[in-house]
């Protein structure tokens, strides 16, 4: 425990050190990111080796924290360790990736300071066992990520994105206030340890407040608006960290609050399933309609948070209906998906960063054929893409499988119709999300890496530096390993799941057999695939291979710009779902009979949550506020009248009412 705190301090110190250095100091390239990576690696090893002792440790302040109530209490339990592990992995990989990413545009010397405070803030969020401590760490996390978002000053939209992000973060903090006050209202203590046994209607209010407070960070629909703005604006390794683990802190918060309240109400589960289905399906649909590579990934994070919510919802419903299998598998799937999503999403963001670094653009429809100049990046990106689609033998599959099995148990084995319906809804949502995600990521990978370059101007000449490739290889290897050997990840899951499901007597042999069997099948699959490949290879040795152009159906001059673009690829789907994802088309015509310039067509999917709902609310507030301007009219006489009226009103209030 003390090790963790000391390491956090070292992190902050190394960040502070970077503040004192000159902007282009050499140590930004190696020493400071290296130090962050080393500390996190050390911490990771410490946690993995000492897992048994780490998960039960707690730590009270060595000096009294002089606010009228707050105590400095730290603690680690299986739930927080489960979030700590991917966080450290991602920090290692993004701090290895960062220095070279900035080769062309060196960041301000504050970059690594905010990076380290972001990491330290996240560690402290996981460690804190006191509400005040938690809120402060939470704000440190939001604040430093906000500064990281706006740190890319070459982009004007980063200011806008940072603004939107920070607003939502702050609204979340306001909800956190209400949430923690309500939780502490029984005995006035802000220590987590005293928050037990909250029941009845109050627990429902607590749950809803937690959903709002943490949902704004987790970014499920309708709280997602900041994600697609902030992620493209931030530097890629920061997006990886933010999308990979920071938004999961919202999930952590919801799960943490769930451990305070019992018994679970079934409708919480239904609500989560509804929200999960909404953000899963809409998130991936929005992703499919986007053009910016990082915006696509951001919306896909919304989708994956939706999947996590579906799992959590099944877990809660399972507990509420007393079905341990459903509960255990639901929670386990949700948690595992947290880990998995953090791995493959950070991999994808790092890959997107590599593409942006080499091409200087994030516009998907301008790219194409990058696989030839950047083969290794392409392979790593493909790994992430397959994993995020939840396809077998990669890690995304294992977690989705657990949620599916939870639903199967719920809809088949349990007598309650409500549970069956919840399971069915979740299965249908997951299946739809799966199909849509496959569309989204074949589209992304196909447009960026395959085919011919669409604009030769931004075609990269070479592969990214090997350091960045190694940084991407860490999550990629873990994606494959977890996919193949999910059995070994199960011990990590049991602790938090027991805490969430509120019982420890669940028999884990069933889940173990699933993990084992799927490992076996994956081995079998690999073997047979290898066999087929071998046969093809040996038989193909004697064959003649001819290289020619792609079959062009008789058209003699196919140009790269005639390729199917990502927009055309998504068009049928977008047209089908035109209600939730409206496509806005902009056509700039020239009215001449013989137009001198070509017409320009541009289409984009607008997020009507942002442009419709939120903007309307803000506009109406603005109008209302503007209509009060007469109050400050500039007339001194009128101002004196206010004073007189105030006196009279106060006297009437106090003496005559």
């Amino acid at each position: 425990m003390l090790t963790v705190i000391i390491c956090t301090l070292i992190l902050v110190l190394s960040g502070l050190l970077s503040l004192t250095l000159k902007r282009d100091h050499i140590s930004f390239k190696h020493i400071i990111p290296g130090a962050i990576a080393t500390v996190c690696t050390f911490l990771l090893i410490h946690i993995i080796i000492d897992y048994k002792s780490v998960i039960a440790s707690s730590f009270s302040a060595f000096f009294s924290w002089q606010l009228p109530f707050a105590n400095l209490v730290f603690g680690l339990d299986p739930l927080s360790v489960f979030f700590l592990i991917p966080m450290l992995i991602l920090t290692v990989s993004s701090s290895l990736y960062g220095p070279r990413y900035f080769d062309k545009h060196p960041p301000g010397h504050k970059h690594w300071f905010f990076f380290s405070t972001l990491v330290a803030g996240m560690i402290l969020v996981l460690l804190s066992r006191n509400a005040v401590m938690f809120i402060i760490s939470w704000e440190v996390m939001s604040l430093s990520s906000f500064f990281l978002v706006i740190s890319d000053k070459d982009k004007d939209e980063s200011v806008q994105a940072g603004w939107l992000y920070f607003i939502t973060a702050h609204v979340g903090t306001a909800f956190l206030f209400a949430l923690f006050f309500l939780l502490s209202s029984t005995d006035g203590s802000f220590d987590f340890s005293s928050w037990t046994g909250i029941t009845g209607r109050k627990s429902s209010v607590v749950f809803l407040l937690a959903l709002a407070a943490f949902g704004l960070k987790a970014g499920f629909i309708p709280f997602h608006i900041w994600l697609p703005q902030a992620h493209p604006a931030a530097p890629s390794h920061v997006s990886a960290l933010m999308s990979g683990i920071m938004i999961k802190m919202g999930i952590y918060g919801i799960l943490r609050v769930l451990t305070f309240i019992s018994p679970y109400q079934a409708w919480w589960g239904f609500l989560l399933i509804a929200l999960g289905a909404l953000s899963g399906i809409l998130g991936v649909l929005f992703a499919t309609g986007q053009h910016d590579i990082k915006r696509i990934l951001a919306y896909s994070s919304v989708e994956n948070i939706g999947i996590i919510l579906l799992g959590t919802g099944m877990g809660i419903t399972g507990v509420a209906y007393g079905s341990q299998t459903v509960a255990f598998l639901g929670f386990a799937g949700a948690l595992l998906h947290v880990l998995n999503h953090s791995l493959f999403k950070s991999l994808l963001f790092l890959g997107a960063g590599a593409v942006i670094r080499q091409t200087g653009s994030g516009e998907v429809d301008h790219m194409g054929g990058l696989i030839r100049t950047m083969p290794k990046t392409a392979l790593l990106f493909l790994t992430g893409a397959i994993a995020i689609c939840g396809l077998p033998f990669f890690n995304g599959f294992t977690s989705e499988l657990m949620i599916y099995v939870s639903c199967l148990y719920g809809s088949i084995k349990e007598p309650q119709a409500a549970l069956a319906m919840a399971g069915l809804c979740t299965i249908i949502s997951l299946a739809t999300i799966g199909g849509l995600a496959a569309t989204c990521f074949t589209r992304l990978f196909g447009t960026v890496f395959l085919g011919e370059p669409r604009y030769s101007a931004i075609t990269p000449q070479k592969e990214i530096p090997s350091m960045m490739l190694w940084a991407m290889a860490i999550p990629a290897v873990l994606c494959v390993l977890i996919g193949m050997l999910s059995y070994f990840i199960l011990p990590l899951l049991t602790g938090p799941v027991y805490a969430l499901a509120g019982s420890t007597n669940y028999n884990t042999s069933g889940i173990k057999s699933i993990a084992l069997t799927s490992s076996l099948v994956s081995g079998f699959f690999l073997l047979s695939g290898a066999a087929v490949f071998l046969i093809m290879w040996t038989s193909g040795k004697k064959k003649v291979r001819t290289e020619t152009v792609t079959w062009d159906c008789g058209y003699s001059r196919p140009a790269p710009s005639m390729q199917y673009t990502s927009s055309s690829f998504a068009a049928p789907l977008i047209r089908l779902f035109h209600f939730p994802v409206a496509m806005k088309k902009h056509l700039s015509k020239s009215d001449d009979l013989f137009p001198a310039s070509s017409w320009k067509f541009f289409s984009a999917v607008e997020d009507w949550f942002l442009t419709g709902i939120y903007t309307t609310i803000i506009r109406s507030f603005d109008r209302a506020f503007s209509s009060l301007r007469w109050f400050q009219s500039g007339k001194a006489g009128q101002y004196v009248l206010y004073i007189a009226v105030t006196v009279i009103c106060l006297i009437i209030w106090k003496f005559y009412l």
Binding site: S633, G634, K635, A636, G637, V640, A644, F655
Partner: protein, 215 residues
């Protein structure tokens, strides 16, 4: 006898208030307020006789000197520099203002019967004159369209505080009393200086040129 006189002076103060409300010329406004200053001096002299306190006499002299002579003198000097129409020109017309002034004064008598603070005053007339003066002073400020009338309104409002303070003056040490007086005098003087500045910069004493800072 003395309380009778006190009541008469108080009544005269109320009448002077009404006069201020009705006067349309800046010059007559200044005259009115100078008259009121002298009335205040008389009031405090009467009070001095009432409770045999020497420093009330000092107060009376001071108030006659400053409120009756000094400030009106400066004000009329200021008015002489005004090029535009030297009219009071209030937001609310003179007759209606008069009517409202009468209502305020009646209300002051009424409220004194009801309110908890009646025993803070020497007499009902004394209290009513204070409240009515305060109300009418505020009314003058609120309805003014030019700076001079606002100053005069403030002066009237402050006269109310003087009348009010007289009843409590006995309980304060002298230096506090003097401080209060000097402070208010200084306040009004500074207002006059500021008004002069306004006149030189804007060439006008209308408050319309002072309404640009809004929202």
């Amino acid at each position: 006898m003395k309380s009778d006189l006190l009541a008469w002076v108080s009544l005269l103060i109320i009448v002077s208030n009404l006069y201020l409300l009705s006067s349309s010329r800046l010059a007559s406004l200044i005259k009115g307020v100078a008259f009121q200053g002298i009335l205040l001096g008389a009031l405090s002299l009467l009070m001095a006789g009432h409770s045999a306190s020497y420093h009330l006499i000092f107060l009376a002299i001071l108030s006659i000197a400053v409120k009756g002579i000094l400030i009106p003198f400066y004000l009329s000097k200021l008015v002489r520099g005004v090029k535009e129409l030297r009219d009071a020109n209030p937001v609310i017309g003179y007759s209606l203002s008069m009517f409202i002034g009468v209502v305020i004064s009646c209300f002051a008598f009424y409220i004194l019967q009801k309110a908890p603070f009646v025993h803070a005053f020497v007499s009902v007339f004394h209290g009513a004159s204070a409240i009515s003066t305060a109300g009418i002073g505020l009314f003058l400020i609120i309805t003014s369209r030019n700076v001079i009338r606002q100053i005069i309104g403030f002066l009237v409002f402050e006269n109310a505080s003087f009348i009010f303070g007289l009843s409590i003056a006995l309980y304060q040490p002298l230096f506090v009393e003097m401080g209060i007086l000097l402070d208010t005098f200084a306040g009004v003087l500074i207002m006059v200086i500021a008004a002069k500045r306004i006149l030189t910069v804007h060439q006008s004493i209308s408050v319309r040129s002072l309404e640009r800072l809004s929202k």
